[in-house]
Symmetry: C2
């Protein structure tokens, strides 16, 4: 929050400058919201001049788009050991970790205003959500289905969304991300039952 660096006497160029601008626009949209995102605000926060922004982009939204684009799509989960429950929790924890990042808040603003900025929303889905997997638990579920531990016919679009949906709902209601205990509840009480494992049946009873 003490970002308002003075001219710093070194003149940044190329990638160094771009990085600062991208960080600035993400911070700016998180603070002011997409509706109040402005070239002057971005410039001020990045410690650069409006001119330098207009040299590359023509609107604050395009600056944001660039920043989102530049966010490297991270690698997806590796369903490691033979531990369905643990892998599901880890998958959701990956989602939660991302939700803490600055770009996640920006993503939220975009989704909320998608009616006003359809291109932005589309770019967000194409460049961030889909490459990232989007469905974190799905990877895990498929893995164990291939191993014959759960019935593949149970892995429907709805079932693949249960975990993520509950994480989002929890974040929406409480305005904080679920901790590990909550993730465990979600997995135990909602995801696992949907693929035929308990709450009342022990795991081992799933595939006799």
């Amino acid at each position: 929050m003490t970002e308002h660096e003075r001219p710093a006497r070194t003149r940044r160029r190329g990638e160094e400058l771009l990085t600062a601008i991208r960080a600035a626009v993400l911070a700016e949209v998180a603070e002011t919201g997409l509706g109040r995102l402005t070239m002057e605000g971005i410039a001020k926060r990045a410690g650069t001049a409006k001119t330098s922004l207009y040299r590359r982009w023509s609107s604050p939204q395009e600056v944001l788009l660039d920043a989102i684009h530049a966010e490297h799509p991270q690698e997806t989960v590796s369903p490691g050991s033979d531990d369905l429950r643990g892998d599901l929790i880890r998958a959701l924890r990956q989602l939660v970790d991302w939700m803490r990042s600055p770009s996640a808040e920006a993503a939220g603003s975009i989704v909320a205003e998608r009616v006003r900025h359809p291109e932005l929303a589309r770019a967000l889905y194409e460049r961030v959500f889909e490459p990232r997997g989007g469905r974190f638990t799905l990877t895990v579920l498929r893995h164990y289905a291939e191993q014959g531990r759960i019935d593949p016919r149970l892995i429907t679009p709805v079932v693949a969304d249960i975990g993520e949906a509950l994480v989002f709902k929890y974040a929406m209601d409480t305005h904080q991300v679920p901790d590990d205990a909550k993730l465990a509840e979600i997995v135990d009480q909602a995801v696992l039952p949907a693929v035929g494992i308990g709450p009342d049946r022990p795991e081992s009873a799933a595939k006799p």
Copy 2:
């Protein structure tokens, strides 16, 4: 969308005027977003003068707050016949019906910008979500738990949220509300399994 009524030559007062203003602010926030909500915009759409707005409220947000406040909390579901599955679908359909309303879109804008306008978000939850029940399926689940048809211990906060969470997720992803077929999938594949009723077990096998 042809709201821009000319002065109409009759001068509205009191409740009649208030109603028009409330409708205007809801439409305005749906169209421009909460971040771009403005007194002038509301006034123009309501066909009134800025002066009349400032006479009662001091910011566009307070006008919106008033409009939300004035939205009567609607009655909740009556878990009617002896049909758990049908009642669950009906409960979710109630949610979906609300999500089509103009105030729902306004509510979405507020939730999205809750960081910027905490009072608005709080008012929304206190005056709209909580009185409305907030949890649509919960009412139904409790009803059948009292009748001994499902195990009360299974009705946890997580389980009570499954249906609503999936409806929201679907709306977020596709930007349209789920139809009845989708609601049925949600109930069959996610909600019912969580309260111990198959996908693989028939309903009747739930309480032997």
